[in-house]
Symmetry: C2
Subunit: 329 residues, 2 copies
Amino acid sequence: MARAWTLASRPKGLPTPENFALVDLPPRELAEGEVRIANRWLSVDPYMRGRMNDVKSYTPPFELGAPMQGGAIGEVIESRSDRFKAGEMVQHFGGWREEAVLPADQVQPLPQLDVDPQAYLGQLGMPGMTAYFGLLEVAQAKEGDTVFVSAAAGAVGSTVVQIAKAKGCRVIGSAGGADKCAWVESLGADAVIDYKSGTPVVKALGEVARTGIDVYFDNVGGEHLDAALAHGNQGARFAICGMIDVYNSAKPTELRYLARLIGMRMRIQGFIVSDYTDRAADFYRDMGGWLKDGKLQRNETVFDGLDAMPDAFLGLFSGGNTGKMLVRV
Amino acid sequence: MARAWTLASRPKGLPTPENFALVDLPPRELAEGEVRIANRWLSVDPYMRGRMNDVKSYTPPFELGAPMQGGAIGEVIESRSDRFKAGEMVQHFGGWREEAVLPADQVQPLPQLDVDPQAYLGQLGMPGMTAYFGLLEVAQAKEGDTVFVSAAAGAVGSTVVQIAKAKGCRVIGSAGGADKCAWVESLGADAVIDYKSGTPVVKALGEVARTGIDVYFDNVGGEHLDAALAHGNQGARFAICGMIDVYNSAKPTELRYLARLIGMRMRIQGFIVSDYTDRAADFYRDMGGWLKDGKLQRNETVFDGLDAMPDAFLGLFSGGNTGKMLVRV
C-alpha cells in the first residue's frame, strides 16, 4: 500500500518530526481522466514551512491530517487520460507520497532538455525559475552590476550565481562553511562570504564589495538583508525571494541600515515565482542554451526513501543541503 | 551686523541647543553677479538632521563652524545681477541666517501662485513636491487605492492626504494627539490614527483598514512601517520619504511583518525629491489647479526671530509642529 506524509500538528517555531505522520493511502480506482504516478523524486523547499501555518498566504495552508503537497517527478503507471501513457515521466505537485492519483490537467510532461529528471525539481524547475525571474525581472540585474546573493549554495542561490555570471555581473555569494563556499566559488562567484566564520556579514560584505552592491537576491533575510542595506549603491534593487532566517522565528528582524534606502533610492521588492509561469518558455530557452554551453552546474543533496522526508525538510533550516535538497523514492 | 547659525558640534542622537552657535557674519561687498537677500522666512526640515552627521549622503554634511544651510524666502536688498532687482521676493538655500549673499544662479524667483510667500517653503515647495512625486510617481497611487500616511499633520504628510483625496483615494493618516488628528480629518482623511493613544499602530491600523492598504507613504519608519507591512495588500507600494523615528536613534528598526512582502509582492522604494526637480512644472500645474479649486489647505507652526531657530528645528523631533515648521525673521 502506498504511503504519504500528513501534517499531524502545526509547528511553533522550528518544526519537529512529531509534526509529521506517515500514513497508508487507501487504494482507489482511477476515475476517467485521471492518472496514477509512482513518484521517483520528491522536493522539499523552504516555502513549505509557510504552508504548515494556519495563515492565509499565497499558497493555502496544508490541511491537518491530509497528505502534504509539493513538487514531484514520477512515472505514470496507469492512465485513464489521452494525455499520458504508462511509462511516461511527468512532474506534478502531488509530492510527500509514494504514489499520486491526479487529474491529467494537474500533471505536466517533462521539458525536453538533456538533464536528469530530478533537475526539473531544482535548477530547471521552480527554484531555477525563481532565480531567473527574481534576478533578471525583479532585480533587473544587468552586465557590470555587482550582485550579492545569500544562501548561494542552495538550489535557488547557486543558480542565481551562475545566471548572474552568464549575464556579465560581478557576483558575491554567502554560504555557511568552507565546503559550501568552495562549491559556490567553483560556480564562478568572484567572492564568497562564509557567514559561519564569526565575522559579521556587514563587515565581511564590506571587505569584498568595496564599490558597493547593485543587486541583492535575498533568500534569508535578517543579518544578510541588513548588510545589503549597509552596502547598497544608489538605485540598488533587492529581490526578496525568501527569509529562511525568520520562517521559524518569533523574533523581529532588526535592521540598522534601513534608512539608507532613502538617500540611496534603493528598492526592495518581494516576489513569487508563480507570477512568472506564463513566461516559462523564456526560462527554458535561456537555461537550455546555458546548459549546452556548459555554463550551468548543479549539486544535489539526496535523502533516500520516503521515511527520511521530514529529515530532508528539516535539514533545509540547518544548512544541511548543498544544491537542491531531494528525496529519492 | 547680520547673524547666522553655525554647527558648533555634531550631535550624537537627539541634537541639543549646544550643537548650534549664533555668530555674526562679517559684512562684505557684493561681487559681480551676486545678490544680497534679507531673509523673511527660514525653513527647518527633518532631513537637516542627516546633514549634521559627518556621513556621506545625498546632501553633503554641514561643515563645523560654518553657517548652516536650508530653504529660505527673502527680499533682494542689493543686486549686482541682471536677473534680480532690489525689492523682489526670491527663494534659495542660504537659510539659517538673517542675510544671504549668493550668486544669482543659486537664487530663484517665486512661482506665480496666489499664496503667501512662505508657502513656497512648504506645501508649494520642497515638502509639497516630496508629497506629490512620492505619492504619484514612487508609490503610483491611483483612484480607489487605500493610502496610509504617517506624520499626516506634518508639512509633507498633510499634503499627501490632500493630493490623495484629490486623486480619489481612501486616506488613513496617523498623527500624534487629538488636535493634530482633528486637523488631519478636516483635510479630508477618511480615518485618522492617534499614535500617541497607547494602542499599538498595527492594531489601530487594522481597525480602520479592514481591506488592507495599497500605498504607504512613510515619514517616520519604525512601528508605522511595520504596521504597514502587516496590513499591505498584494502589490502594495511603499514610498519611503523619511524615517524621523530613527534619525536620532542608535537602536535598530524592529520589523515583525517584513516577510509578508514576499507573499504580497510588496515594493518598498526610497526616494529623494531632488530627483524630480526637472518635473517641477507638473507639480506647479496640478497644485495650482487644486489651489484654485479650494482643495488645498495648509497650516504653519511659526517661531519668531532667528534666535528661536534651533528650538524650531528640535521641535520637529518631538512633534511640535502642525503643518510646516517655519521661522519668521
